[in-house]
Symmetry: C2
Subunit: 112 residues, 2 copies
Amino acid sequence: MTEIAPLPEPPYFAVIFTSQRHAREGDGYDAMATTMVELAAAQAGFLGMESARGPDGLGITVSYWNSEAAITAWKDNARHRVAQRLGKAGWYDRYCLRIARVERQYEGPAGR
Amino acid sequence: MTEIAPLPEPPYFAVIFTSQRHAREGDGYDAMATTMVELAAAQAGFLGMESARGPDGLGITVSYWNSEAAITAWKDNARHRVAQRLGKAGWYDRYCLRIARVERQYEGPAGR
């Protein structure tokens, strides 16, 4: 989760999850986040995941999938598994989730 | 740059830039990064930008654009402005850049 994800041949799909969070110890966030990653990695169609959160509390997690159907299956699975906790917790001040189709890609540094 | 970007009506385009960097003081990185953000914000078609880098050095910056042509214009402009420095600096151990088309989006927390 803290490495650059593999680069399969486009097109494939990305879920861009951006969230603003203020750190609150003991609210169950870390356990939920771990569960979400494990669910993703075990799901058919999962290609990889990248995640970063800065000291200001803004976090970006991008997961990559080989189809939109795989994203839907992950969402349904995750909702089932963490729904009860999701309802109770105030993990995020705000979040945005975008579903996108990756069309092209590049990597570097050049010359390596 | 450290806030969640606005959510215009899809479809629109995203540039997902993931990089692995080891902090090196005085290498000109911060100045380059500031220039890149300023160039983006001044470019026609720019919709917003989100950025996070964790303590492990993995960073994700996502910029949003109303067309692929706007992304190309930004790339050409940025290349022109920072090309000389880009060639000299070893800012990144590795980076990946993905161009994607945002199809759908959601925001929360629900009920707000």
